[in-house]
Symmetry: C2
Subunit: 656 residues, 2 copies
C-alpha cells in the first residue's frame, strides 16, 4: 500500500509504508546491518551549530596535536649540525609561529570571502580554474591520508613512551586505530562537538601545565638538564656527528620539518557554516585563538627541550615531548601525571586523524560533484556518511602505516607539501578574488593575500627542496599523477554529460515503426511457454522463436515437440557447430538490428529456490543476458519462471 498525493508539477509522490522497504536484504546488506547498525534516514541529516569554544576543539585538534611531534622533527634535523645548531631550534620555531600568523591573517580573508565554507579547494576552483583546482584537490587528498598516518603513528609513539613494551607493536596498534576510526566513521559518528572537545582541552591544559610548570622550574633553577645513561646516548639521533656544520640548507631543512605543525590550519575555514551566527566573525576569532594556543605550546615545548638538553632518539622512542614531560613532572605522583599526559596526547592525535575522516570524504564529494572523482564518492551511505570516501582514506592510511612501519620521522618528509601547496593556491585564489570582486577594503585584503601567497610559495619551495631526497619526491610524483587521473576523470564525465543531457526543448520521440521480438528457446518447457505468452503480449510486427542448436539431436527433438504442441510462433533453428551458444546467438540477433526497428530479445529464466537446485544449473540466461545486452540497439527481457515454490498457472488446456 502506498499513499499518494498530487504536487503542483503533476509529480506524484508515493511514500511506501514504513518498514516494507527493508524486506529485501542481500547478504551484503545483512552484513552491513550487523556492522553498522540500522540505516539512517536522509531526514536525519542534521547540521549542528557549535559555539566558538567547541569549535576550537573540533577544528583545532589537527594543528594543535602537531605540537606533539613538530619540535622533535626539527631537532632531528638540527642534531646533524652539532650542539650549536640545536640551539637554533627556538628561533626556527619562532619563524614557524610567524608563518602561522601570516596564515591566520590570510585565512581570515578566506573566511570573510567564503562564509559558506569550502576552504582552499573552493577558492582555487572559483578563482584559478579547473587545472589548479585539481592540483589543490590532489594535494589536499594526499595530505589528508598523511594526516591520518602521521597522527596515529605519533599517537601510538606517545602511548609507547609511557608503556614501553608497546613499542614493538606500533604498526599493529596504529593500523588498529585506523580501522577503528574507519569503522566509527562508517557507522556515522555524529559530530557531537561536546565529546570531541574533551580530549583537545585536556591536551591543551595538561601539556600547557607541563610547559608552565617546566618553565617555572627552569627559571627558578629547580630543574637541571636531562641526564642520559651511556647506553641511551648511543641511541640518540646524530650520536656520531659531534661536530657538524651549521649550513643554510640545514636550517631551511629544520624549518621545513617544523612546518608540519601548520597542517590542519585550514580546517576552520572549511567549516565556517558550522559556527553560530555571525559565522564568519566567530570563525575568525576561533582561528586566532587556535593560533595563539598552538604558538604557545610549540614555542614552550621547544624552549624546554633546549633548556633541558632533550635530544630525540634515533628510533623515536621515547618521544621528545615524553622525555620533557617526564623530566618536568619527576617521579612519584609525577609518574602518574606523566602517564595521563601521554594518554591525552594519544587522544588528541587520534582525534586529529579523525578530522581527516571528516575532511577527506567531504572534499572528495566536492571533487566528485565537479566531475574530478568517481561519482560513487558523492553517494551518502547506509549511515549518511560518504562511505566510499571513508574507505578510500582508511585504505590509503593503512598502506602508509604499514609501508613506513608507523615511524613518524619516515612519514614527515612526505607531509606538509600538500597542505602548503593548498595554502599557496588559496592565497593566490584570494588575490584573484580581490582583484575581481573589489569589495569594501579589498586593497588591504589584497596586500595580505599577496604577502601570504608569496610567503607560502617560498615555504613550499623550501620544503620541496630540503625534503626532496628524504621522501618528498614521492609526493612530487604522486600529486601530478593524481592530477592527471582527476582531469581524465573529468573529461570522461563531461563528454558523458554532453551525450546524455536532455534539453528542455526536446520531446520524447514516438515509438519506432517496427518491433521485432525474438524468444530464445532452449527447451519447450513451461518456462519457454511463459516467455512465448509474454512475447505475444508485446504485439510485435514479427515474433519468432530462436533455438541455437548446440546439440543437433536436441534441436530435432525440440522441433518435433514444437510441431506436436502446435505453437503458433515459427521456430528458427540456428546451427552452432562450434557449440558457442553466446557468439551464435549474438550473430543471429545482430542481423535484426536496424535504425527503424526496436528489437526485443525475450529470454526465459528458470529460477530455482534453494542452494542445491541452483548448484545443479549453470544459468545460461545470465550469460545470454550479458552477451546480448552489450549489443547496440537490442533490448533484452528476462521472463522469470520460478520452480519449486508454487506452480504457476500460465497454461490453458487445449479446448478442442
Amino acid at each position: 500500500m502506498t499513499t499518494e498525493r498530487e504536487t503542483a508539477t503533476g509529480l506524484r509522490l508515493l511514500a511506501p509504508q514504513a518498514g516494507t522497504s527493508r524486506r529485501y536484504q542481500s547478504p551484503g546488506y545483512r552484513a552491513k546491518l550487523l556492522l553498522l547498525g540500522p540505516p539512517l534516514r536522509t531526514a536525519q541529516l542534521v547540521h549542528e551549530r557549535i559555539s566558538k569554544r567547541v569549535a576550537l576543539a573540533v577544528f583545532s585538534s589537527d594543528p594543535i596535536s602537531s605540537t606533539a611531534y613538530a619540535t622533535e622533527e626539527m631537532l632531528l634535523v638540527l642534531v646533524a649540525g652539532g650542539a650549536g645548531a640545536v640551539g637554533l631550534a627556538l628561533p626556527l620555531a619562532a619563524a614557524v609561529a610567524v608563518l602561522l600568523l601570516v596564515l591566520v591573517l590570510s585565512y581570515r580573508q578566506v573566511i570573510a570571502a567564503y562564509p559558506q565554507g569550502g576552504g582552499a579547494y573552493m577558492v582555487t576552483r572559483d578563482n584559478l580554474g579547473n587545472l589548479l583546482a585539481s592540483v589543490c584537490a590532489s594535494a589536499l587528498l594526499v595530505d589528508y591520508v598523511l594526516t591520518v598516518a602521521v597522527s596515529v603513528s605519533a599517537g601510538t609513539a606517545a602511548l609507547a613512551s609511557a608503556i614501553h613494551p608497546l613499542r614493538f607493536h606500533r604498526v599493529e596498534i596504529s593500523a588498529g586505530f585506523v580501522i577503528l576510526l574507519a569503522w566509527g566513521n562508517l557507522r556515522g559518528v555524529r559530530e557531537s562537538g561536546r565529546i570531541f572537545a574533551v580530549p583537545t582541552y585536556v591536551y591543551i591544559l595538561s601539556l600547557g601545565g607541563v610547559v608552565c610548570y617546566g618553565v617555572f622550574r627552569v627559571l627558578t633553577g629547580d630543574l637541571g638538564p636531562i641526564a642520559y645513561q651511556p647506553a641511551e646516548v648511543a641511541e640518540l639521533a646524530g650520536a656520531g656527528t659531534a661536530l657538524g656544520a651549521v649550513s643554510l640548507f640545514l636550517l631551511l631543512h629544520a624549518f621545513a620539518a617544523g612546518t608540519t605543525a601548520l597542517t590542519g590550519v585550514e580546517a576552520i575555514a572549511d567549516g565556517v557554516p558550522a559556527f553560530r551566527k555571525p559565522e564568519a566573525r566567530n570563525a575568525q576569532r576561533t582561528l586566532t585563538a587556535m593560533a595563539l594556543v598552538m604558538a604557545f605550546l610549540f614555542l614552550g615545548i621547544t624552549y624546554l627541550a633546549i633548556r633541558l638538553g632533550a635530544r630525540p632518539f634515533d628510533k623515536g622512542h621515547p618521544t621528545l615531548v615524553a622525555q620533557v614531560t617526564a623530566h618536568v613532572l619527576g617521579g612519584g605522583t609525577g609518574r602518574a601525571l606523566f602517564l595521563f599526559v601521554q594518554v591525552a596526547t594519544l587522544c588528541i592525535l587520534v582525534l586529529a586523524a579523525n578530522t581527516a575522516f571528516n575532511g577527506f570524504p567531504v572534499l572528495a564529494s566536492f571533487a566528485a560533484k565537479d566531475g574530478f572523482m568517481p561519482r560513487q564518492l558523492r553517494k551518502r551511505g547506509h549511515r549518511l556518511v560518504y562511505s566510499n570516501g571513508v574507505i578510500a582514506l582508511a585504505g590509503g592510511a593503512l598502506f602508509l602505516v604499514v609501508a613506513f612501519r608507523a615511524e613518524v620521522h619516515l612519514l614527515i618528509p612526505l607531509y606538509a607539501i600538500g597542505v602548503v601547496t593548498s595554502f599557496t593556491l588559496a592565497q593566490a585564489g584570494m588575490t584573484r578574488h580581490h582583484l575581481r570582486v573589489r569589495q569594501q577594503g579589498w586593497r588591504k585584503g589584497l596586500a595580505v593575500n599577496v604577502f601570504g601567497a608569496s610567503v607560502t610559495l617560498v615555504v613550499l619551495v623550501i620544503i620541496t627542496l630540503t625534503k626532496f631526497t628524504h621522501g618528498a619526491w614521492m609526493v612530487v610524483v604522486a600529486v601530478p599523477v593524481l592530477v592527471m587521473l582527476l582531469r581524465r576523470t573529468q573529461r570522461a564525465y563531461s563528454s558523458e554529460v554532453a551525450e546524455l543531457k536532455v534539453e528542455a526543448t526536446q520531446r520524447l520521440a514516438p515509438p519506432k515503426p517496427r518491433h521485432e521480438v525474438v524468444v530464445l528457446i532452449e527447451d519447450l518447457d513451461q518456462a519457454a511457454l511463459a516467455a512465448l505468452q509474454y512475447a505475444r503480449q508485446l504485439n510485435p510486427l514479427h515474433l519468432v522463436a530462436l533455438h541455437i542448436a548446440v546439440d543437433p539431436d536436441r534441436a530435432r527433438e525440440l522441433g518435433a515437440l514444437w510441431a506436436r504442441v502446435r505453437i503458433p510462433v515459427p521456430l528458427d533453428v540456428v546451427d552452432a557447430p562450434g557449440r558457442n551458444l553466446l557468439a551464435t546467438a549474438r550473430t543471429a540477433i545482430e542481423e535484426l538490428v536496424r535504425d527503424d526497428t526496436e528489437v526485443t530479445v525475450v529470454i526465459p529464466k528458470r529460477s530455482f529456490t534453494g542452494f542445491w537446485r541452483r548448484l545443479l544449473h549453470d544459468d545460461s540466461s545470465a550469460g545470454l543476458f550479458r552477451a546480448l545486452g552489450s549489443l547496440d540497439g537490442v533490448n533484452v527481457t528476462i521472463v522469470p519462471f520460478r520452480l519449486g515454490r508454487r506452480a504457476r498457472l500460465r497454461l490453458v488446456r487445449a479446448e478442442g
Copy 2:
C-alpha cells in the same frame, strides 16, 4: 546473412556464415582458444571402429598394467606372516587368476546381452533399479579416480626405480602426469587406437620377455636369488617380523591386495560398439585374450619374485617388478634393457590412467542423463569432450596423489572395492536379466552369472573386511555419501522436470488481459528517453515512470525537468528514506503483481566503452536487474544506451 531452408515440420533452419560466430569472445573464451586450440565442430565427432588387436591395447592397458604392482601389494601383506607365508603368494595369485576367469565368463554374458555397451551401470540401472544404479555409479566413479591416482603413482615409481633421484619428487611428477592427461583430454586426444596400441604391446612383449627369460634362467639354474645388502635388508618390508604367523585373515588380506589386478576388466564390455562387426563376438574374444595375457604376466612375475627371493621395500622404492627385472636382465646390456622396461611400464601405466579419463566423463554423462549428476556433465565442451567430467576427475585424482604422497601401497587399500562392487551388481543385474528376458540358452547364462555374482560378492566382503582398517573405510564412507548426493540430485531434477514438462495436448495460453509497464528513472537523460520511447512501443494498459528518491534534492530537480520537457508519461516518485534503492524498488514493483497482469519493468542501462569509463560508474542497472529479476511475475527489460561509441538518434526535436 543466413541461408534458410524449410523442413517438413515447418521448422526453419538457419546456418550462420562460417566464422561470424566467433566474433564475440569473452576473456575466458580467449584463454580457452590459447590452451585448447580452436573449437571442434559437433559434426567432427566420429566413432572409430577398431580391430581386435587394437582393441586389446586400447581397452586392456588398465588391467594389464596392474601386473606392475599387484604382486608387490600381495607380498607386502604376506611378509607379515614370515617366510612361509611369502611362499603362498603363487597359489593366491592363481586364485586371483581363477577369479579373473569367472569374471571373463560373466562379462561375456554382459557383452552378449548389451552389445550397445554401457557395462555395469547400464546393466544395473536396467535390471536392479535406481538405487542400485546410483550405488554402481558412485562405486565406479570413485574407482576411476583411484585408477588415475594409483596408475600415475605406480608409473612414477617404475620410472624412479630406474632413475633413483626422481624418487624424491614422486608427488610432483605424479601430479604433473595428472595435469598433462587432463590437458590432453580437454584438448580432445582423439581415440586413435594405433598410437595407443604401442605402449601396451611394448609392455606385454618386454615384460613377457623378462618373464620367459627369467623362468628359463631359473629352471636352468643359471640365476640365483637376489642378494640384498645389509643396509637394504633393514629397509625391506616386514624386516622386523622374522617369524610371523600365517592366519586365514592374512591370506584373505593378501588375496584382497591381489584383486587390484582386476580393475579395468569391465572396460571391454563398456566399449563394445567400438569393435568391428560382429561387435559382441569380437569383444568376447578380446576379453578372453586379455585375461590370458594378464594371467600369464601376473603369475609369471609372482613366480619369479618368489623363486628369486625378491622382497618389497618399505618405501616402495625400487619396485618389486623392477628388482626382478634388473636381476633377470643382469648388468651390461641388461642395464639398458632394464631402463627400457621401466619406461615401458611408465607408459602403460599412464595409458591406464588415460582410460579412466575416457571412462569417467562418459559414465558421468550417462549418470547426468539419468538425472543423477549435474547437467553440466552432459555438455560437450570446446573440443567435443565432456570437459566438466575431465576436470572433476583430474581434481579428484590430484587430491588423492597429494593426500597419499603418491605412494601406491597407501592408495591400494582404497582401490578395487568400487570395481568389485560394480562386478557384483553387474552379475546380479544379469541374473535378473536372464530371468526376465529368457533368451535362448538363458539357463546357462543364469548359472554363470549367479555363480559370478556370488563369487564377487564374497570377494567384496573379503576386500572390505581385510582392508577396512587400512583405508577401505574411506571408500565405505564415501560411496554412501555419493549415493545420497546422486539421489538427492535426481529428486531435484525429476521434480523440476515434472514442473517444466509440456504435454503434447497443451496449447500456448493467450496473452494476459492486462499489461503494466514501469520505467525506472534515475535521471532524465538520453538513456531514460530511450527507455521511455521503448516502453511506449509495448503499448501497455498503464505506463508509468518510477523514480526512487534516494536523494530528495535530486528527486525535486528531476520532477522540474520532467515537467519542462513535458514527458507524456506520469512520473511517480517513491521516497526511500533509508536510501536502499533496491529494496524500495522491489516493494514498489511488487504491489503491481497480480495474476491477470503482465508486469514489465524497463531499466535504462548506460553502457560505457573502455575500462576507464566503466570504472567510474557503479552499474545500478545490474543491481536493479538482480533485485527485481527475483520477483515472481515481474519481467525485466534492459534498454541499453551506449555512450562514447556513436551518438544514437533516438530523439526528434520538438516540432512546435
